[in-house]
């Protein structure tokens, strides 16, 4: 098995008003990878392209070492996909939908499917149109997990869900992952969930990947710095410094500790420097703000 579950190199997809990429993304096997970014950043487009929903303009995408276009079917047999955007309406009822989908997978586990139906409290005979939003996501999860995929792609799986449903879904996901060392890619802007459940992270904005690495390392790598600087001070162009606000002589900036940004600021005349740790949410907002 390849060491990387997903390997994206130089991916470009152009729309009339948006361009994804060039994007390089690496998801290690067995990782729970959070792909985070603001709305319209390109998270869903990336996942869609992995699943063949649209054609890329350039680049390559490999899943478990297989080419996403040439080995489409083999890849999809190993993927489970969860999204609230899946419409099951044409299948009428839950049982019809499940029976339809199961026939496409050789390794569909009926016993596990029954277990999930009971665990997620899904009504087997319920009409799809009568399902609540949360229950539709649960059905999506049921379909994705029942064939015990090697890779789970979750596109905003908990968007719009209440805390209880969210908890149910994540606990089910975690148990599925812990049992069998699956790789999970979660695309979300629910930062608290991503921070809690993921061990790797990629931050995407305007179609470009800003950061990538293990969640702990990324969060540790950055600090919020408050400092005082005389009039005329301007930190623009200092590598690893992302200015957040300025009030008179007081500045606040996000700094990349790997780029020796604090030393550089001091060299330019920053004084009374105080550092504080950041949460993923702080980091996300700070980077998004700096880019704006």
């Amino acid at each position: 098995m390849s060491e990387l579950a997903i390997e994206i190199r130089g991916l470009v997809k152009t729309f009339p008003s948006f361009q994804l990429g060039p994007l390089d993304l690496s998801v290690p096997s067995g990782a729970i990878y959070g792909l985070i970014g603001p709305n319209g950043a390109g998270k869903t487009t990336t996942i869609d392209l992995l699943l063949g929903m649209g054609r890329k303009n350039a680049g390559s995408m490999r899943v478990f070492g297989l080419d996403s276009e040439r080995d489409e079917v083999a890849i999809k047999k190993r993927i489970g996909y969860v999204s609230p955007d899946l419409s099951f309406l044409p299948w009428g009822r839950v049982r019809k939908l499940v029976n339809f989908v199961r026939s496409f997978y050789d390794d569909w586990d009926d016993q596990y499917c029954r277990f999930l139906i009971e665990r997620l409290k899904i009504d087997w005979n319920e009409r799809i149109s009568a399902l609540s939003f949360g229950n539709r996501v649960k059905v999506s999860l049921l379909l994705a997990l029942s064939h015990r995929p090697d890779l789970l792609l979750l596109d905003e799986p908990t968007a719009g869900l209440d805390a209880v449903s969210k908890q149910q879904i994540f606990s089910q996901l975690l148990s599925a992952v812990q049992d069998e060392q699956r790789t999970v890619l979660i695309a979300s802007h629910g930062l608290a969930d991503v921070e809690r459940f993921t061990d790797h992270l990629g931050m995407i904005k305007d179609g470009r990947l800003l950061l990538q690495g293990s969640t702990g390392e990324i969060v540790d790598r950055f600090r919020m710095v408050d400092f005082v600087a005389a009039a005329g001070f301007h930190p623009n162009g200092v590598p690893g410094v992302f200015v957040q606000s300025q009030k008179g002589e007081r500045w606040q900036a996000l700094v990349d500790m790997q780029a020796d940004a604090v030393e550089r600021l001091k060299a330019r005349g920053a004084r009374d420097v105080s550092l504080s740790p950041v949460t993923l949410e702080d980091l996300f907002i700070a980077l998004a703000k700096e880019e704006d």
Binding site: K13, F15, T45, D48, L51, G52, M53, G54, R55, E72, V73, A74, K76, K77, I79, Y81, S83, D85, L86, S87, F88, L89, P90, W91, R95, K96, V98, N99, F100, V101, R102, S103, F104, Y105, D110, C113, R114, I117, K121, I122, D123, W124, N125, E126, R127, S129, A130, S132, F133
Partner: protein, 449 residues
């Protein structure tokens, strides 16, 4: 209300303008050949269709939050659907008559000139009435759902029979009865318009929380997966075709018997014109061919995540139009079998390649333009409908069937179907839009988001 009306007219100005030009053109053809079907009511159709399109796009939710009371919204909807298009058809007919009079031709007589707007008004009003009877949500009770299906049937019936309705005359007793019924429905529609607004702008009532029933989870058994899906679609189509054909034949024969004073059985077994069946053929091809495929397109995102190659998915999806065409032809042949004047089922079977090619081309078109653009789909359907209507009017339905079954036409159709299949494959492979979720609730597919 003035703002609402002018906004509506502005947004749909090309439809009204196009409809007006089309009606003038068709009426001009009719001056040359009085046996041509009367298309003047095509214009009256535009009002209710545009309003339906507006509702489909969720305009009512937007209007509901504006500082307008619901009565104003419902009245403006009623005027948009019922009054504007007949008024325009009156203008068109008057202008045409005036122009024809200047060149010494007789286009429409004075009687028709006065009758036509009234019939158009009753027609548009009836169409709108049935639209107001279609509850939007799928969580309604059985009675509401049945009512919705019935209203949809009548809507389709009226839309399909507009040529027939346009040839109504107030000189005959039957015509007066039908127009009077239409006017009564128009009056009802004024009041039911308010109900429509209430329903469409209301929040979704909370469904009763029920515990999942302790049912047996039966997985598998019988045809599953692709086969199951295809069979279900096929059998449902067959059943619906049969039911609706029965229903429409009954209505048609009863209406004709009212107008001609002949028994309904006589009309059914001795049809003097083949237009009726030709029109049926196309309406059903569009309704079932496209209708079922639109249902499929709602689930495209799931289809694409399944372990199927693009080519297999294309072939599988294009099996649906084929199945629907077979189902449709089986039902149609059952109806045509007892007909004395028709060449019979075997001749009709010669039409299969043409209809199949048409269904495949239409499905490819649906993949290209997407389910969102309902108006364009209706427009394309209208073009086919008109094309065959004109052909049937000039040549006669029997001759058309013979011509369409000829070898060159069949070869062209097969080529067109192959190109359409290839095009469909390209769309499935490359069109990201195809997999985007629908954000607008629409009729029976009401996506509750």
């Amino acid at each position: 209300m003035r703002v609402l009306l002018s906004d509506f007219l502005h947004r749909y100005r090309w439809w009204f303008l196009g409809g007006g030009v089309f009606c003038i053109f068709m009426s001009w053809l009719r001056v040359m050949d009085p046996d041509m079907p009367n298309f003047i009511l095509m214009l009256a159709l535009i009002g209710p269709i545009c309003v339906a399109q507006d509702h489909h796009r969720g305009s009512l939710k937007v209007l509901a939050v504006l500082p307008l009371n619901r009565r104003t919204i419902s009245r403006s909807c009623w005027i948009e659907a019922v009054v504007l298009a007949p008024a325009l058809s009156f203008v068109v007919v008057s202008l045409g008559t005036l122009l024809a009079g200047l060149t010494g031709e007789v286009w429409y007589g004075l009687g028709t000139l006065l009758e036509m707007p009234l019939i158009a008004f009753a027609y548009a009003g009836s169409m709108y009435f049935f639209l107001t009877m279609m509850p939007p949500a799928s969580y309604q009770n059985v009675l509401a759902k049945s009512l919705s299906v019935l209203a949809a049937l009548f809507w389709g019936l009226l839309a399909g029979l507009h040529i027939f309705v346009a040839s109504l005359s107030l000189d005959r007793g039957g015509g007066i009865v039908l127009v009077a019924c239409g006017l009564a429905l128009t009056v009802f529609s004024f009041f039911s318009s308010f109900l429509l607004i209430e329903r469409r702008t209301a929040l979704r009532p909370h469904a009763k929380k029920k515990r999942p029933a302790a049912c047996e989870i039966r997985l598998g058994g019988g045809a599953t997966g692709k086969a199951r899906y295809w069979l279900e679609s096929f059998s449902l189509c067959l059943l619906l075709s049969l039911g609706i054909m029965l229903f429409m034949t009954l209505i048609f024969s009863l209406s004709l018997s009212l107008m001609r004073g002949e028994s309904p059985l006589m009309i059914l077994t001795h049809r003097s014109s083949g237009h009726f069946v030709m029109v049926f053929l196309l309406i059903f091809l569009l309704a079932f061919g496209l209708g079922f495929q639109m249902r499929t397109l709602l689930g495209m995102r799931l289809w694409r995540t399944l372990p199927l190659s693009g080519l297999r998915l294309t072939l599988l999806l294009f099996l649906l139009p084929a199945g629907n065409v077979v189902a449709f032809l089986v039902v149609l042949s059952l109806f045509l079998f007892p007909s004395v004047e028709w060449p019979g089922v075997f001749t009709l079977a010669g039409l299969f390649p043409v209809i199949l090619a048409l269904a495949i081309v239409l499905f490819a078109l649906l993949l290209q333009i997407g389910i969102r653009n309902l108006m364009l789909i209706v427009g394309v359907g209208g073009v086919f409908f008109t094309f065959f209507g004109i052909l049937a009017a000039f040549r006669g339905a029997e001759e058309i069937i013979v011509r369409l079954s000829s070898l060159p036409v069949v070869v062209i159709c097969i080529l067109a179907a192959i190109v359409a299949l290839w095009w469909g494959y390209r769309c499935i492979q490359s069109r990201s839009e195809l997999y985007r979720p629908l954000t607008v609730a629409w009729g029976p597919f009401n996506a509750q988001r």
